[in-house]
């Protein structure tokens, strides 16, 4: 099955809210070799004007991933994880993610174009906080390989 072209323009329901925990931010920071004190030490983050530790920039992926699960769960999508390669990623921020944030993400499929035997799928996850204010938009381009027959 190839990628279903009717996915273009599809807007998914918002994800359940994700509460950003201080220890999760620290765990993620260690995993990406982020040793700046603002990621680890609440006092250092507060000295910069934040309520709590500041997540590294690519932490938004943890929330975006919830939307990817929605996409992979679509039965007739034609998208299978083992044939998927992450080709491009972009984050556009209104503000950094901070521990204590309650975030939701809403996925839109903004483009599908043929690429070899497969397709390039562009999606945007708009991540907002508990007040509905924009935090970050995460844009992914996935290369979905054609099925090997």
């Amino acid at each position: 099955m190839s990628v279903n072209p009717e996915l273009v323009g599809r807007v998914f329901p918002p994800t359940a809210s994700y509460l950003v925990g201080r220890e999760k931010v620290r765990e993620f920071a260690r995993a990406v070799f982020a040793d700046a004190p603002q990621h680890l030490d609440p006092a250092a983050a507060q000295a910069l004007g934040y309520r709590d530790v500041v997540a590294p920039p690519t932490f938004a992926m943890v929330v975006q991933d919830l939307t990817m699960q929605q996409l992979l769960a679509v039965e007739d999508s034609g998208i299978a994880l083992e044939r998927t390669v992450h080709a491009e990623q972009r984050f556009h921020y209104s503000r950094p993610i901070v521990a204590g944030d309650e975030l939701t993400a809403q996925l839109s499929i903004t483009g599908i174009r043929p690429f070899g035997a497969g397709a390039m799928v562009t999606s945007e996850a708009e991540i907002t906080d508990a007040d509905g204010a924009h935090v970050v938009t995460a844009t992914s381009v996935l290369l979905i390989g054609g099925e090997v027959s």
Partner: protein, 137 residues
């Protein structure tokens, strides 16, 4: 360093990060990306990869962190995008060394564009890795 002293071409930060299989497992747990090509040789081989690969998002994440100390505040980052162009094969015994260099690529009134170059051996593994950072207020 203040924005007033920035010039296009200036290298603002560099570092080498040594990745091991443990780094990949740690990132898998922290990010929730448990694709087995990032920790199982047998699966990597079966799908035709040259070996167990680092997560692209791990490379993207560690690359941008190279400039955070120089920035003083990661909150100055307004946009960050990359293309994943080459895989990083992480050997079970020797691991993999990634070298990150961050250079001023462009300047305007509001922000600087910092271009990140990430190399693994002789190859560049990210394309168009660009970070837009607000000038210090």
């Amino acid at each position: 360093m203040t924005s007033a002293t920035l010039e296009v071409g200036t290298v603002v930060a560099e570092r080498t990060v040594h990745l091991t299989r443990e780094s990949l497992v740690r990132y898998a747990g922290a990010s929730g990306d448990f694709n087995p090509i990032h920790y199982r040789d047998d699966v990597a081989e079966r799908v035709g990869l040259p070996g167990v690969l680092a997560h692209g998002m791990l490379t993207m994440g560690l690359a941008v962190e190279t400039i955070v100390e120089w920035l003083g505040d990661a909150g100055r980052i307004v946009d960050y995008g990359v293309r994943f162009t080459r895989p990083v094969v992480v050997d079970a015994e020797d691991g993999a060394d990634l070298f990150v260099s961050a250079k001023v690529g462009a300047l305007d009134d509001e922000a600087a564009r910092i271009d990140l170059t990430v190399t693994f051996g002789d190859t560049t593994v990210l394309g168009k890795a660009q970070v837009r950072v607000r000038h210090q207020s």
